[in-house]
Symmetry: C2
Subunit: 194 residues, 2 copies
């Protein structure tokens, strides 16, 4: 199991002894899934938080009209999950599936509670992680209210240049909250300008 990536991620925020490291690692499970496979389906209970070692996942929900909306992408070094479902053990509103063949480490709810008890510093780690996620989400909401689709797309390209190549346009459009047709038109317009 590759553990360097996740330990490094954690040690950016908190310091760990060797003992704590190995205890933490002992709580993790490893899983490899193929493209299009699900890690979580809406209405199931989300039993794990997932840390991506390689590949790419997305979380999305399906609205009343049956349309999919991407909430998050997760590539190497990112966490993903349905936080509400995970913490309250209620049915998920999100689906999580693989856009590429993907390897993840899984941290279950009992495991995380043990972790909080035995290594309280993790309480801090997860607080900071969620704090950052909250701030990012707030900014994303602000952008969706005050910027046009064109600006949101340009910001997205600037912020995640690697995603532009890696992800199908239809997924990017969904993340940005626009139709794939409109994103295509935007790209044509932007290409013309250059």
């Amino acid at each position: 199991m590759q553990t360097a990536l996740i330990l490094q991620n954690i040690q950016k925020l908190i310091a760990l002894t060797e003992e704590e490291k190995s205890f933490f690692l002992s709580l993790l499970k490893y899983k490899k899934i193929k493209k299009r496979q699900y890690l979580l389906q809406a209405d199931d209970i989300c039993r794990y938080e997932y840390f991506v070692l390689s590949g790419c996942l997305r979380s999305y929900y399906v609205d009343e009209k049956g349309q999919e909306h991407v909430v998050q992408f997760a590539v190497e070094d990112w966490w993903i999950g349905d936080m509400r479902s995970f913490f309250t053990q209620t049915p998920a509103w999100l689906n999580i599936d693989a856009l590429e063949e993907t390897e993840v480490l899984m941290l279950g709810k009992e495991a995380i509670n043990e972790l909080y008890q035995k290594v309280p510093a993790f309480e801090r780690y997860f607080r900071i992680r969620i704090q950052n996620a909250f701030v990012a989400e707030q900014q994303r909401l602000a952008q969706s209210y005050s910027k046009t689709a064109e600006k949101r797309y340009l910001d997205f390209r600037e912020r995640y240049p690697q995603f532009e190549q890696r992800l199908p346009q239809v997924q990017i459009a969904s993340y940005l909250g626009i139709t794939p047709e409109f994103l295509s038109a935007l790209r044509a317009k932007l290409a013309g300008k250059r």
Copy 2:
């Protein structure tokens, strides 16, 4: 200083000894502000998290075109602040001001760090609080992408019936991400249906 409200709020999530309670309370400052006064202005550093005892605050940002967008309302028993600015001590992107005469308790950054050290359970309290905020923010973003303004307004009324009366329409419109003119038209349409 009224302390029952905030202690009650905290003890919903973590247990505290009498000693811990009084230590926590000793870290708080009290402030009363009039309608239209600022607690925070964009580009200043956010030095406190604010807990509302009475009255009503709003946080908002101003976009490139000079338009205001309400990010959050905070009435009795709610926290408000600019989390990014507070934790990184960088210039705020949010303004916070009072929509009514308002009393708050203030928790500073040094205070909160002391608190984490001496009463680690607070790490948990703030983790859970932020977790809930994150989940709420995610759902709000999802709604803004998949529902029309009309549905968002109806949901808002259902979720926060007290706000409907208490807040000026122009503030509600801003929170919902629509113009006051359009909200007015919506209301007229909905009233006609009844």
